[in-house]
Amino acid sequence: MFLINCPFCGEREQSEFKAGGEAHIIRPKQPTELSDDEWAEYLFMRKNIKGVQFERWNHAHGCRKWFNVVRDTSNDEIKAVYKMGEKPPTI
């Protein structure tokens, strides 16, 4: 089980958090303008990276805030955390 450094509350056990999947998939501002394919791309298609992935986590049992985590999915090593809206670090 990981330790995740919540950018608001500090380092906590993974069990306090909820994973939210791949980060930076922005909900289209004008869904109605999209083709079925483009909508499916947003809705379902995922990079599902093996290696360094930018992803969303929520401190569900703490401050309830969402934030981003950079994690190597091949060994679960967490490289960085950053708040929503902040610029992703370069890893």
């Binding site: 608001f8 509350c9 500090g10 906590r12 056990e13 069990s15 306090e16 049992h61 703490g62 401050c63 309830r64 805030k65």
Partner: protein, 187 residues
């Protein structure tokens, strides 16, 4: 006249660990992001909301716990009158915060049950069901944390050495109370 029924009908003393609900305690959740928000709350209640994570502040009447960068819980230091549920503090804040759209104020007096624990085994009890590292917390008066105990979300406030206030949602409180008593019985 309505009867008042607190969540926990009894208090317990096990292995000199005292577990009891304190009620009625007025509790408000206040939310706000704007800069003026914090000062407005300060002015209306003369208590400065804590901005440092996992801390609390206190005035003679009220205590405020940090819950997140835009969320605090404010509760009364003393019990209220069982026969009334208009709270001055809430009105003040509604006028000085909600009405002018500085933020939000929500009465959660019965959303959370405040359980007061006293004794030198509090943290042994917590260790049997919480992943949170209380090592520094227990020596830090006023410290606050939100975490899990016996699978249930809790807010813990270090009121003083060997005294904590624990806040839990009412519908979970009887289960947690029973769980804590069972755990305490084996400390």
């Amino acid at each position: 006249m309505l009867n008042y029924t607190p969540a926990l009908l009894k208090e317990t003393l096990i292995q000199d660990l005292q577990i009891k609900e304190i009620s009625p305690i007025m509790k408000l959740i206040v939310r706000g992001k704007k800069r003026e928000f914090i000062s407005a709350v300060g002015k209306s209640l003369n208590i400065l909301l804590p901005t440092e994570a996992n801390t609390s502040t206190q005035s003679d009447k009220l205590t405020a716990l940090w819950l997140s960068p835009d969320e605090w819980i404010i509760f009364s230091n003393d019990t209220m009158n069982k026969d009334l549920n208009d709270y001055e503090t809430e009105k003040l804040l509604q006028n000085n915060i909600s009405k002018i759209n500085l933020g939000a104020v929500t009465d959660v007096t019965d959303q959370f049950v405040m359980i007061n624990l006293k004794g030198n085994k509090i943290y042994d009890l917590f260790q049997s069901g919480s992943p949170y590292n209380f090592n520094n917390f227990q020596n830090k008066k006023g410290a606050v944390t939100q975490t899990i105990l016996g699978k249930i979300d809790i807010i813990v406030h270090n009121q003083d050495k060997n005294t904590v206030n624990l806040f839990v949602r009412r519908s979970f409180s009887q289960h947690l109370f029973s769980w804590m008593n069972d755990a305490a019985s084996r400390l």
